[in-house]
């Protein structure tokens, strides 16, 4: 499954990242790398983007980008 499918309140672990170039690099620069744990905090009031906790801080990303991140529970 991808990060997009994860439910609010779940903690998931990153398996693989798809995509290339700027967006992927940005996501990884912000600390979403293989093996890291992500806690899904909430979804924005209008349904997108989502807010997650990663490496001890809050990060928001769009669902379209979250789709590039493969995770397991």
């Amino acid at each position: 499954m991808t990060l997009r499918d994860a439910k609010v309140g779940e903690t998931v672990k990153v398996v693989k990242l798809h995509g290339e170039g700027a967006v992927k690099r940005r996501i990884m620069d912000m600390g979403i790398t293989k093996g890291v744990e992500i806690y899904i905090r909430k979804v924005a009031p209008l349904g997108d983007p989502i807010e997650v906790t990663i490496r001890g801080y809050e990060l928001s990303l769009r669902k379209a980008d979250a789709e590039m991140i493969d995770v397991v529970k």
Binding site: L17, E20, G21, A22, V23, K24, R25, R26, I27, M28, D29, M30, G31, T33, K34, V36, K42, V43, A44, P45, L46, G47, D48, P49, E51, R55, G56, Y57, E58, L59, S60, L61, R62, D65
Partner: protein, 804 residues
């Protein structure tokens, strides 16, 4: 010799606070050449030979965002003597990620850990000695907010810079990655210094296009990269990123002790409410209403009116308001006894004028009936000539001789005349020539007034913006609004500039500074002035009353037009060459909430306000003077010259209007008056109404009137806003592009409205048919631009030059 130190760190880690604490008031704030990234430089308070360069807040040194490229280019080409890397202690892992990249540059790095006090309160402990050993650079504990430990860190970095020692990288990646990097390092050109080899090896491995461009003799290592990518089943850039975080995780375990129990922090509690699914939007609306009400409606306009009407206008003002009420009372009494004692006679005379439909007579009559002397005086100022020429004469009851005995403002309290009055009196006293005196009073003082008139409102707004930014709510606005705005290429943060733009476009454009993505920011700057601002309301009102009998739908339709223009432009522009080049990922940190200090808010307000005066001021002043000259010089009694009583039609401006009015013929208002009004609208949009007030309205049908309205709402904004655009774009090319786009868009919109309006109202002559064909072609073209396929770019193409 002076020492250069670069201050680097993530956004929201206290870097600005530290920079201010280090440099005090010895700062120079500007822009990096040609880009919209702010450049701050300052001298160390305790040692004036040390120059501190505040780099933009960045998370990484990737080649993909403008800020990162700017910071990188500075570090690589300027090679400062040392880097002071500030780190947020509450967010160690992600902050150290940048550190691992900084240390590879071969420049000595000193780390200052900020906000450890916050961490300690939670009961977490960082072992500083251990961290320093593992990361390979001296680490100092500071509190930027309280000013603790700053001097020690500054002394250390200066000492480090002076030593000029070789700086060794301490962190190591996995064995197989290190082998590859070593292999690449050996192949590098021999003139690359030893301490920079690791940096270049990694960049070559990452296929960093910006580095590869710098020289031609880099070795071809494509086969090494391909092998590695196969081995790791990942692209080379990701391999390196992974290694950095893996190393950081491994050292964190040894030096960071976390208290086991995870409690909900204050920031978390605030966020639970503020970005709550149901409460977020209402809270957002309330905050926006407060911002708008205070900075645009109440405080803002009070202060702006004071600056425009009293400080720079002709009204003048009373110190602390003392004396005003006395003066007002005396004036009321005087008017009652000397003017309105002839109320009945005046009414009778004016009624005649009203019956003859003389322009303005109704207004004057109403003022007399209400005994409203201010309104009476204003209406007489505008229309007395028209009355006299029709033989209506009330000068018996209102003339200069009577007014001579009116109360003098200076007799009551401490009265201070407006600057305009002061200056013109002064010039009169020294017998200055007419045109020079007019140049100084109307051209220069008026121009300066036009610049400064916006400043108070702007300062109030900047206080709000700084507060929203520093406390962390601005990032939440982007989070809440992103879904709507990204559809047309804007940021969630574009909401504020557009909202403020309904009051005045100038602070609206300046508010776009809070948008960090370059593309979103430029797009916001270009579209903010489409929304009708306060000064455009009189135009809307004029057209609505004069041509549509005050129909209710005219004003809402103007706002609708503005919003539609923003949406359409956003989608079109997003796909153009100018914008499609640069990627705009939305992966954004939501920083913890905290209460900003008063000092930092005031400093931010002052910096932005001052940069507007300095950078936008010149444009506004120059333009005001040119327009003044254009309207004051012209044909007087058959020969070219200057006159203080120049009729607009005879002025240079009028001649230009006459010469170019054919341009607007396809829009239905190809006549001199409307053209002059449009040109005058560049000075200030409300001037459009002034021109029509003086000249005549005839010849403009309802349809042409609406096309005129549409054009004036959407075309280039007033000079003040153009100055603000110039300041925010920081590039002449982009400023012209913005203005050119706005004018083209306005022209096309007005043309479509007029021509199709003509067609549907049953005009079938040759011109209408040609015009309609053009109009349909425009619509088809816009639809094409809207729906054509578009792919988000993944490469950052903008060139950034760093000049010393």
């Amino acid at each position: 010799m002076s020492i250069k130190i670069a201050l680097a760190g993530n956004p929201n880690c206290g870097k600005t606070t530290l920079f201010n604490a280090l440099t005090g008031s010895n700062q120079y704030v500007g822009n990096w050449p040609g880009v919209t990234v702010e450049k701050k430089e300052g001298k160390l308070k305790s040692n004036k030979d040390v120059i501190i360069m505040d780099l933009p807040g960045i998370y990484s040194l990737s080649p993909y965002t403008l800020e990162e490229v700017v910071a990188r280019n500075y570090l690589i080409t300027e090679r400062p003597d040392a880097i002071l890397n500030i780190i947020d202690g509450t967010n160690l892992e992600r902050n150290l990620y940048l550190t691992t990249q900084l240390t590879e540059l071969g420049i000595p790095v000193v780390i200052a850990i900020n906000m450890l006090d916050v961490l300690e309160k939670k009961g977490d402990i960082i072992n500083i000695q251990e961290l320093s050993k593992k990361i390979g650079c001296p680490v100092y504990e500071i509190s930027a907010l309280k000013g603790k430990g700053i001097q020690e860190a500054a002394d250390a970095v200066v000492k480090f810079a002076k030593e000029n020692k070789k700086f060794e990288v301490a962190h190591v990646f996995a064995k197989n990655v290190e082998d590859i990097l070593e292999n690449i390092a050996e192949k590098l050109p021999k003139d690359i210094p030893e301490e920079q080899k690791r940096f270049y090896a990694i960049k070559l491995f990452e296929r960093d296009s910006k580095i590869l461009e710098t020289r031609e003799d880099f070795p071809d290592i494509e086969s090494i990269i391909a092998d590695a990518e196969n081995e790791f089943d990942d692209d080379s850039e990701s391999i390196i990123t992974n290694e950095r975080y893996t190393y950081i995780s491994s050292i964190i375990k040894g030096c960071y002790k976390k208290k086991s129990k995870e409690k909900l922090s204050t920031s978390d509690k605030i966020d639970r409410i503020v970005t709550n699914r149901w409460l977020a939007l209402p809270i957002f609306a309330i905050i926006m209403i407060i911002v708008y009400y205070v900075s645009v409606t109440s405080v803002g306009s009070l202060v702006t009116d004071f600056t425009n009407d009293q400080l720079f206008g002709e009204d003048g003002w009373y110190l602390f308001g003392i004396g005003r009420s006395d003066y007002d009372a005396a004036t009321d009494k005087f008017v009652e006894e000397n003017i309105f004692n002839h109320k009945t006679e005046m009414e009778a005379e004016l009624q005649k004028a009203v019956d003859e439909h003389i322009k303005g007579s109704e207004e004057i009559l109403a003022a007399v009936q209400d005994e409203d002397f201010d309104a009476f005086e204003e209406a007489m100022g505008s229309y007395s000539v028209a009355l006299e020429s029709e033989g209506i004469d009330i000068s018996e009851y209102y003339n200069d001789d009577i007014m001579e005995n009116a109360p003098d403002k200076a007799d009551y309290g401490v009265y201070i005349p407006g600057i305009t009055t002061l200056v013109s009196n002064g010039l009169e006293a020294i017998n200055c020539v007419d045109w020079l005196s007019a140049l100084i009073v109307d051209g220069i003082v008026g121009g300066v007034g036009a610049v400064l008139g916006f400043v108070p409102q702007m300062l109030v707004l900047f206080i709000f913006l700084a507060f929203l930014e520093y406390c962390g709510y601005m990032a939440r606005i982007a989070f809440i609004m992103d879904r709507i705005f990204r559809k047309f290429g804007l940021s969630g943060k574009s909401f504020i500039p557009i909202l403020i733009g309904t009051g005045c476009g100038v602070p609206g454009i300046m508010a776009s500074r809070t948008i960090e993505n370059d593309r979103d920011r430029k797009m916001t700057i270009m579209t903010t002035t489409f929304i009708p601002c306060g000064a455009k309301l009189p135009i809307i009102a004029m057209i609505a009353t004069a041509l549509f009998d005050g129909a209710w739908w005219v004003a809402p339709s103007a706002y609708f037009l503005g919003i539609a223009a923003i949406i359409i432009s956003g989608i079109i522009l997003k796909k153009t060459k100018m914008f499609a080049g640069d990627p705009a990922p939305f992966v954004m940190e939501l920083p913890a909430y905290h209460l900003p200090t008063v000092g930092s808010i005031l400093r931010s307000m002052w910096e932005r306000g001052w940069s507007f005066i300095k950078r936008a001021g010149t444009v506004i002043l120059l333009a005001s003077i040119i327009i003044w000259a254009g309207s004051s010089f012209g044909m007087v009694d058959g020969s070219f010259g200057f006159s203080t009583e120049m009729e607009l039609n005879d002025s240079v401006l009028g001649m230009i209007g006459n010469a170019i009015c054919w341009i607007f013929a396809p829009l239905g208002f190809g006549e001199a008056t409307a053209t002059i009004a449009t040109i005058m609208g560049l000075v200030a949009k409300e001037e459009v109404v002034g021109v029509f007030g003086v000249l005549d309205f005839e010849g403009l049908g309802a349809l042409a009137g609406y096309a005129f309205l549409a054009f004036n709402l959407l075309c280039a904004p007033c000079f003040a806003a153009i100055g603000a655009i110039k300041r925010e774009m920081n590039s002449a090319k982009w400023t012209w592009f913005a203005i050119g786009y706005q004018c083209t868009f306005a022209y096309a919109t007005a043309l479509v409205i007029y021509q199709l309006g003509m067609l549907f109202s049953g005009h079938f002559d040759v011109f209408t048919i040609i015009g309609s064909i053009v109009a349909f072609a425009i619509i088809a073209f816009v639809i094409y631009l809207l729906v054509r396929p578009y792919k988000e770019s993944t490469k950052f193409t903008q060139k950034v030059k760093i000049n010393a």
